[in-house]
């Protein structure tokens, strides 16, 4: 009996020796907290993770009627609609350019990839304190100063909303390199004989990209899009470090996660509402991601 459980050459035993610790970690640190969060979302849970007062869907009603939370969701749907295609296009473009470069390819590849190794916090602080500092000594203002423009307090004013320029440029700098590497890897897997055949058929430039490269990149593109989308809704680090101040986070460009962070983990410790918000956000991300995969798969069939 025992021997049968252990399998041939103890294969089952070894399976669990290797997989067990990771499986246990996954359950303990991922699935239990997720389950616990869903559980908390049905309770009034101020300052406690072992609540007793069941409130049904009240927390969900609170969050869905909370103007600030709805605003943050809306802002981030719009933000995702902008940042996903932009990052996608920029990383694809960079990858194509780097792949075509014959001189110093390794150098360019590293240069574009390097920001990925930079911490989001550090990147955000450089953007906030050095490049887009509101002082006349900040890099951006110093440049404008050469043209005779007086210093702009980039992060103080909301009209025009310069803070988006700061955040979007920081985010692109931090992220484009990573997706570029994914595209580069995919580009290198495109069979050379396809290009040779296309060349013989007289295709060049855009035609090659449209009919050879792009279809071959489709699986990678799908993955990149999905990652970008999830990333957009999970935005936190650079927003938090650029915009949060002593008196909290301003009511604009506030990602849902930042809002939930203040709700659940601020001194309010309102875990019930916070968990309900987290579940809503998860459902939203899952829905958009599913819709996207469905659409892309349809596109991939022809």
């Amino acid at each position: 009996m025992l021997a049968r459980l252990r399998g041939r050459q103890d294969v089952n035993l070894w399976f669990w020796v290797f997989v067990g610790p990771f499986f246990a970690g996954l359950v303990l640190f991922i699935y239990v907290p997720i389950g616990w969060s869903v559980y908390l979302s049905f309770f009034e849970a101020y300052n406690t993770v072992t609540p007793t007062e069941f409130v049904g869907l009240a927390n969900y009603r609170d969050m869905l009627t909370d103007q600030a939370f709805r605003d943050s969701l809306l802002t981030f749907v719009v933000f995702a609609a902008f940042i996903v295609p932009t990052t996608f296009a920029l990383s694809l473009l960079t990858a194509l350019l780097v792949a075509r470069t014959r001189v110093m390819q390794a150098f360019f590849r590293s240069v574009f990839f390097l920001p990925v190794a930079c911490s989001y916090v550090v990147g955000a602080l450089v953007w906030k304190m050095s490049i887009f500092s509101g002082m006349s000594s900040g890099a951006a203002n110093a440049l404008l100063g050469l043209a005779g423009v007086s210093p702009i307090p980039w992060l103080s004013i909301t009209d025009p909303p310069w803070y988006w320029l700061v955040i979007v440029s920081a985010r692109l700098w931090l992220q484009v390199g990573f997706y570029m590497i994914l595209f580069l890897a995919a580009l290198q897997r495109v069979p050379v004989n396809l290009y040779e055949a296309a060349a013989i058929d007289g295709a060049e430039g855009w035609q090659v990209f449209r009919h050879i490269t792009w279809p071959q990149l489709l699986p990678a593109s799908t993955a990149v899009l999905l990652l970008l989308l999830i990333n957009a809704f999970q935005a936190f680090d650079e927003f938090y470090n650029i915009l949060a101040g002593f008196s909290g986070y301003p009511p604009y460009a506030r990602p849902p996660l930042v809002y939930l962070y203040y709700t659940a983990l601020g001194s309010g410790q309102n875990f019930g509402d916070g968990s309900a918000g987290a579940v809503i956000l998860t459902v939203l991300i899952a829905a958009v991601a599913l819709a996207q995969t469905r659409v892309l798969r349809l596109g991939g069939r022809d």
Binding site: I152, S156, A244, G248, G266, Q269
Partner: protein, 434 residues
Amino acid sequence: MARPHRPLPSLSRRRVLALGGVGALGASLAACGDNTGRGGSSSPEGAGSSAGGRPQIAQWYHQYGEAGTQEAVERYAADYEPADVTVSWKPGDYDQSTAASLLTDSGPDVFEYGNGPTIDMIRGEQVADLTDLFGDTLDDFTPSLVERMTYDGKVWAVPQVVDTQVLVYRRSLLEQAGIEPPQQISELVEAARELTRDDVKGLFLGNDGGAGLLGGPMLWAAGLDYLDGEQVGFDSAGAPEALAVLRTLWTDETVLLGQAKDWFDPEALTSGRAAMQWTGLWTFPVIAEALGDDFGVIPWPAMEGGSPSVPVGAYGSCVSTRASDVQAAKDFVRWLWIEQTDKQLDFATAYGFHLPSRTSLVPEAEVLASGPAADAAGYVTEHGHAQTPLLWTPQSATAWSDMMNRIVRDGADPQAELDALVPIVEAELERVTG
């Protein structure tokens, strides 16, 4: 509150004055499973289980930025005869980790908390009633702070040292412009205009134009408040007009914005980029060093029907009801923060620049005896308001801060914004008092 960016250690003490607990948040729950500082096998002294029957007290502080503070509190603790006090110095996100640890058995016996315990801690019976520790000394403590730490007729914390925010101005710049320090809000708005020159702005109220800090002082200026007992305190005709003043300053372009160092640092004033700045008492030594006696200090001015004001904050020493010996912990708090006045004075003035919370000690501190510091100390007693009331929950504070930002930075209509805020605050009041 304050806590987003990893707060620089030197700023951490000021967090007590950042707005109502919505500021910086760090890695919460960081303290779970930490060394609790309670005597035990893991304690560095090896105090072990047998300490000759002396009670063991674990005392927690957040990480003060000023050099020497940690050694000072350890010295105070070592001086206490009746019990073994182990001090834990908690870097990082103190408020959150302490609040979380109170839910467990690994929390502190005695701990400090910004402006005293939260209403949830009091109602959750996580902190002990400290009223009987004060005896007849209660009247000697800064009144606005005692009120802030009182609920249900009981005092829940002993204020340690007091911080405040004031309006600091450059004497020379005002004299050049022929302006008296403003006593009324209308004079302040006018002065800010007069003082704004090419590369000098009249007023620095923080990089958000005062949205985060000056909502409360504007209410007080109009004779209103966040709350009136357990009711909304700003649902009145004067409030929209008062808050609109900050928008006026913004559209006048007389407020300085976009500074690398925000309001808690006096650089905007000392470098001459602003003629007046709203900042904390803690900046006075730096200002004095840079400007000598070329600066003066006033409270936030009043409007008709109101009075001048300064916001006041203090860490309060609290006792956990999960303490291994609650009475021993209370005795220690009485000894240190009520009876040992020389230690309180040392703690307030020897390392940073703060006020002792017992008003009778202020004249005894040399650095507070004259000049702007003495003026500021007087304003605290005379015009001090706790930054935000006890029943002003984080949710109310967030909604308020959002509203202030929309009014000041976006030009939203104050009346409509206030009307929208009232039900949110009322729901929170209902929740915490119901």
